[in-house]
Structures are given as C-alpha cells and as structure tokens.
C-alpha cells in the first residue's frame, strides 16, 4: 500500500471531476461521443478487438491496441476521463492491417471503449476495464 504523487494527483483530479459535473453537463460525455459517431445506430459485438492491461502500471501512459479485419474507422474513448475522447483511427480500403496501438492517460479506474464502424456500415463495440491503483503490498 502506497501513496504516490500520481495517486494524489489522480485523487485531486477525480474530486475536481465530480465537483465539476453539474457545470459540465453540456460538455460531451462518452455516451454523447458514441451517439455522435454512430448517428444513433445500434451497436453490436463482432469484428473488433481491444487489448488493454487489467491494471495499469502507470495511469499516465497506458498501452492499448485495437484491431479489426473490416473496420473503416475505430473510435477510442476513456469513459472516465474529464475529456473522454482519445482517438479515431481511419483505415482505407486497401489497408493491409487494420490495427492501431497507442498510449493513453487514465484519470483513475475506468472503462476504455472502442467502437468500430465496419465497411458494411454497421457498428461494433469492445470494452475493457482498466484499474488504476495506489499499489504496494505484493505477496
């Protein structure tokens, strides 16, 4: 069990986030961004893989990877961040590999969500909970 500067900052951040909620009701939430991306279309499960660590080694730089055989676009969101938008990857028709990896910053334990728009116009979703922890006390 440990107290890191990181976690202190995170605690501060989450407190601000909570306190700020009523005021930022008009700002884009993760759900708003999903609705905007899909145009309200139904989102299923299918040809989309999201790889993220179960517990982040460092919440400031969390490696994630998305891949799909038939995606035209993949939207990545950190649902619990003050600004959930992370990235949108676009793949051309000739793209040999429709995969992308990046590192993202997470303001605490939350779901990372990927939504892919497939070439046939349908939408699929993949989600993974990434825990950001104080750490310490290993066996």
């Amino acid at each position: 069990m440990e107290l890191t500067r990181r976690s202190a900052i995170l605690l501060g951040a989450s407190a601000i986030f909570v306190a700020g909620l009523p005021k930022i009701g008009a700002a884009a939430t993760g759900d708003d961004l999903i609705a905007e991306f899909t145009g309200g279309a139904e989102v299923g499960e299918g040809d989309l893989k999201l790889v993220a660590p179960e517990i982040a080694e460092n919440g400031n730089t969390v490696p994630i990877e998305v891949s799909s055989g038939s995606a035209a676009e993949i939207l990545v969101l950190a649902m619990g961040n003050p600004t959930p938008s992370v990235a949108t990857f676009k793949f051309g028709k000739l793209a040999a590999s429709r995969a992308a990896s990046t590192r993202i910053r997470l303001a605490g334990t939350q779901d990372v969500v990927a939504i892919a728009k497939l070439e046939d116009g349908s939408f699929v979703k993949a989600s993974s909970t990434v825990k950001v922890t104080i750490g310490g006390c290993g066996g």
């Binding site: 069990m1 440990e2 107290l3 890191t4 500067r5 605690l11 790889v51 660590p53 179960e54 517990i55 982040a56 080694e57 460092n58 490696p63 990896s101 334990t109 909970t129 825990k131 922890t133 104080i134 750490g135 310490g136 006390c137 290993g138 066996g139």
Partner: protein, 567 residues
C-alpha cells in the same frame, strides 16, 4: 474410444486415490511415530516425464517453522474453494487426521504443539536430497523454480541475491520465472540472469519503452525428457511495477498478457511440443482463470500466493499444481504423454520435514559457506517470545508478527497509526523461542525497507484501505495482486468483502482514543515498504530490533480490531 477428457477424469480419480493414499500415509505414520524419509519420498514412478516444482523460497536456506493461514477468503467464483479452505475444513476435504504430520504442515490449529512434535520444515540441503532421489528414479526430470527465490533474508540482502544464486545453481534447475528478484534493481537482475546456467523465462516480461518482448527473458524453452518434447513457458508476476517499486526496474513491463500466452502455446504446439507446461508466478486464482481462457496448457506450476495443495486442481484439461513457500514443500508430478497428449498424471506434494529428510552434505556445506561471513550478526539473540506467544504472518489480515511490527512502528516512530505490507512471506517463531537478528530480517528484509513517518487524512487512509482491499477481494482474479490486506496498528475497521471498491471499509476507529476516524482530520502514520522513490526513514529491521530489545520478552495483546463480514 476413450476421449482425452475421459482419460483426464480417470487419471484425476486415480490421482485422487493415490494422493489420499500418499497423504493418508503421513497421517498413519504419525500414529505409528514412524515418519521416515523413504515413506515421504515413496512414489510409484509413472508415465514418461517427471516435473519437480519448488517456488517462493524467499531465500530460506535453512529449516524454519512456517504456519499456514487461518484466514484465506475467496471471493466470487472462488468463494469456499481451494486454496480458500483452511484449518479443519481443509483437513476434512483431504481426509487429514487431527494432530497428524499433514495437519501440522497444511493447517494452522495447534501449530505450536505440533511444531514441537514434528520439528522444523524446509532447508535447501533437504530439498536437494528430495531432488536427488527423484532424479535417481527419473534422471531427466525437469526442476522448475517458480521465483521469489532471491529475496527474503539477511544474507540474501547483503549478497544482493548471490547466496541464493549459488545454492540454487548447485541444485541445477532447468528454468525459473520471477517476481521479487526484480526488487534487486534491473542492473543486478540483468547481471545475474546473464550468468545463469538455466533458462530465465517470462512470456509477459516486456521492454517498457517499446512494449516488446526482451531478449534476456525468452517466453519459453524446449526440453527433451523421456522421449517427449516439452515446452516450458514462463509467466512472471504480472503486477510487479504496481505491487513493488517500478522505479527499481523501469525498463521492464509485465501484465497478464493472456492473449500472448495463447500465441505462445500455439507457437510451441506448432513447433512440435507434446507437453506444454506453464511455470507461473500469477497466483492461484489468476492461474485458474488463465487456464479457463488459454487453451492447450497441460500443466500450470503455480506460485506467488504460497498455497500448498495436496492434489492438483483441474480446470478443463489443465492441471494446476501449487507447491507452498519458504522451502517447505516440493511437488513431484509424473506424466504419461503419448502421441502429443497428456494421458494421465500422478502427483505428490512432498513436505520437507527437516528432522526426517537427511540433508545433502555438499549443499549443507555450500549453504554454510554463504552464511559464514555473517554468522555472528545472524545469530545474535535480540529477545524472545513469551510462553504463549507464537509469531506468524500468513493470513488475509494481521498475524502476530505484523502486530509486533506495527507496535514497533508506533512506539519507535511515535505514530498514531502503523501500516505494514500484506506480504505472505516470513517464517514463524514458536512460544519461548529466542528471536535472533536473522529472524527479524526473515520477516522484514527487502531493498526498500525504509520506515517512513507521514501525515495522512482520515479520508486518505480510507482510500488506502479500500485500494488494497480491492487488490485482494475484487471478484475478478485478473484484478487481484495476490498479497494480503495491509496490516494496521492503532486502527480498527470493519470490512465487508462482498462490497465493491469504495464501500468495503467502514467503522474506522483510532484505537488509542476509541474515536471514529475523521475524514478531514490529519493522523501521524508510520509504515514501511513504500513503492515511492526517495522514501526516507530508518530501516524497518532496525526499528523492529530496537523495539524487541526494549521489550525483552514478547507478549502481545490479542488483536480483535478488524471485523470481517461476508466471508
């Protein structure tokens, strides 16, 4: 035609019968007062492959006492199933008689009395005798070390792991995986691993900068044994930079990475592996979940959570073997592998009764050679335990060793509250036994043992307890880190293990006043084993030694300050 599944179940049944026979043997032998080395090692060699598993030695070269946990709570799907079964329930499950040698080494009741009857356990010179005996029956048996080997004692600290490396090299392991080794710092780990005469495996050990596999720690290695092509895949502790100070090994990244584990299994199968063994430091519940996710692993040799199980646990077609800690047990697993399939197994958890198993003289000499330069410091008596005072640590909440360490922190560092890490290593001390400097180091030694003193608000203390509780009681094992609950001194609380993070811990009380902890008030907190760089304070072993020396005879008040609900 009999399917592989039928075979597995048949062999499981056979093994269960064998296991309880081998097991019952200890119990009967106890009744007959005839525990002998031959009986302990008795094994009807089976099939064509033998695996020898030892794990979580924590640098215990010499025989020790080690009490198994009284409280080991499972949550979610693991509630009430092994390894989350202790004491009388455990004995009933495996048909172990009260007061038998099995009861002594596998459960906790009457520990002090049974310890006086059956003596110390472990000692790598005794382990050597067991390994040699197995090799005399099966010369190409594979010896696999699950890690947490180069950590946990005075000599290991002062030689930066060299004492353990020297002794383990003499036992000639075939492969090893890792956890606490990395707390020696990456430069030292790299230096040792570069010179190791056996494989250092970890499919989940990655270069942190590039998020790519490393050359120093390959994912797997092939072995030829009994005409069978065996692949051993390593799985290091997944949460090292979180549970331990990541700044000591910033070049490395870990994680469970079960997708890659599946890729590695597929790769070794495509290269002709007939038997796939995973040498794991995941912890038991994580291994169970991984066995249900990754297809094609025949055997998982499980470490980290220090569980000792008399029989393997079967998940699908994978057997999981748990071999205890601190040199107390060695597992032997014989396998019959035919046409690329595991058709059956026979297993024995061999307890290392140090008074029964003859030490290997050459290894005794080698161990004594490692200790010789430090012998005066090691053997200095600092205090002793009272006639009713057993010191132990293992269990989800405070053990008596933890209470003593927390008392030392509060009195030596003048604090309201003490926090001590929920680690699972550390031998026990019997009532009326001298406490030497070595004994103190056995429960405190680490490369980041500074005893800090800091201020924390009540709110922050609550967050700390909730955070650690979720590492232990999250219903999804992949989110658990495998330690126990942070130990507390001067603080009481209630924990409901069934609740989600943030609402498990209630009724936090400052014991010295009996007042509820005020979220906005600031408290003086002393602790040790911070994962933060630049933590300052005296070494925890010096703090504990000073406290014990002042006390002379250790006699602790019973600790009833934690109320557990939902177990």
């Amino acid at each position: 035609m009999i399917s592989r599944r039928d075979f597995m179940q048949t062999s499981m049944a056979t093994a269960a019968i064998y296991g309880s026979t081998g097991f019952g043997n200890w119990a009967r032998l106890a009744a007959q007062q005839a525990l002998t080395q031959d009986k302990l090692l008795e094994f009807d060699t089976f099939g064509n492959v033998s695996l020898i598993h030892i794990t979580d030695i924590h640098a215990q070269l010499k025989p020790i006492y080690f009490r198994e946990p009284e409280i080991n709570i499972g949550v979610g799907d693991n509630k009430g199933v092994v390894p989350h079964v202790t004491g009388a329930d455990f004995r009933k499950l495996y048909g172990i008689n009260d007061g038998s040698p099995s009861a002594y080494v596998l459960s906790y009741e009457d520990f002090s009395a049974l310890a006086k009857t059956y003596g110390r356990v472990g000692g790598l010179d005794r382990v050597a005798t067991v390994i040699n005996s197995i090799r005399s029956e099966r010369p190409d048996a594979l010896l696999l070390d699950g890690g947490d080997t180069w950590h946990g004692s005075y000599t290991c600290y002062h030689t930066e792991g060299q004492d353990m490396v020297n002794v383990m090299n003499a036992l000639k392991p075939d492969a090893m995986t890792f956890h606490w080794e990395f707390t020696l710092g990456s430069d030292r780990v790299n230096e040792i691993v570069e010179g190791l005469p056996f494989a250092a495996l970890g499919q989940n050990i990655f270069d942190a900068e590039w998020d790519e596999p490393t050359e120093l720690f390959p994912p797997y290695k092939f072995y030829e044994s009994g005409g069978v092509k065996i692949a051993v895949i390593g799985q290091a502790f997944p949460y090292m930079p979180i549970a331990n100070p990541g700044w000591m090994f910033p070049e490395y990244s870990f994680g469970i990475r079960d997708e890659r584990m599946q890729e590695m299994v597929n790769e070794v199968r495509s290269k002709g592996a007939e038997l796939v063994v995973c040498l794991s430091h995941n912890g038991f519940d994580v291994d169970k979940q991984m066995a249900g996710t990754v297809e094609g692993i025949d055997v998982i040799l499980s470490g980290h959570t220090h569980d000792a199980l008399p029989e393997p646990v079967l998940v699908g077609e994978t057997i999981i073997v748990a071999s205890g800690s601190n040199g107390k047990f060695v597992s032997r697993v014989d396998l019959n592998v035919q046409n690329g399939r595991m058709m059956g197994f026979r297993h024995k958890l061999i307890p290392i009764f140090s008074d029964v198993i003859t030490p290997d003289k050459s290894i005794t000499a080698l161990i004594d050679e490692q200790r010789a330069p430090y012998l005066d410091a090691l053997t200095e008596v600092i205090g002793k335990t009272g006639d009713d005072q057993l010191l132990y640590r293992r269990g989800n909440f405070n053990g008596t060793w933890d209470d003593l360490i927390c008392d030392a922190l509060i009195s030596e560092r003048d604090a309201d509250i003490a926090l001590s890490p929920g680690v699972r290593w550390g031998p026990s001390i019997l009532p009326g036994q001298d406490i030497t400097r070595e004994d103190i180091w056995n429960v405190t030694s680490m490369t980041y043992g500074e005893a800090y003193r800091t201020e924390m608000t009540g709110e922050f203390l609550h967050i700390v307890l909730e955070d650690v509780a979720d590492n232990l009681f999250n219903p999804n094992p992949y989110y658990q880190q495998g330690g126990d609950m942070v130990r507390v001194g001067g603080l009481g609380y209630r924990i409901d293990v069934t609740k989600p993070q943030g609402s498990r811990i209630t009724d936090m009380t400052l014991l010295k006043t009996g007042e509820k902890i005020d979220p906005s008030k600031t408290y003086q907190v002393a602790g040790w084993a911070s994962v933060n760089e630049d933590t300052e304070g005296p070494a925890i072993w010096d703090v504990v030694e000073a406290h014990i020396a002042k006390q002379g005879v250790i006699s602790l008040d019973p600790n009833n300050s934690v109320k557990v609900v939902g177990a």
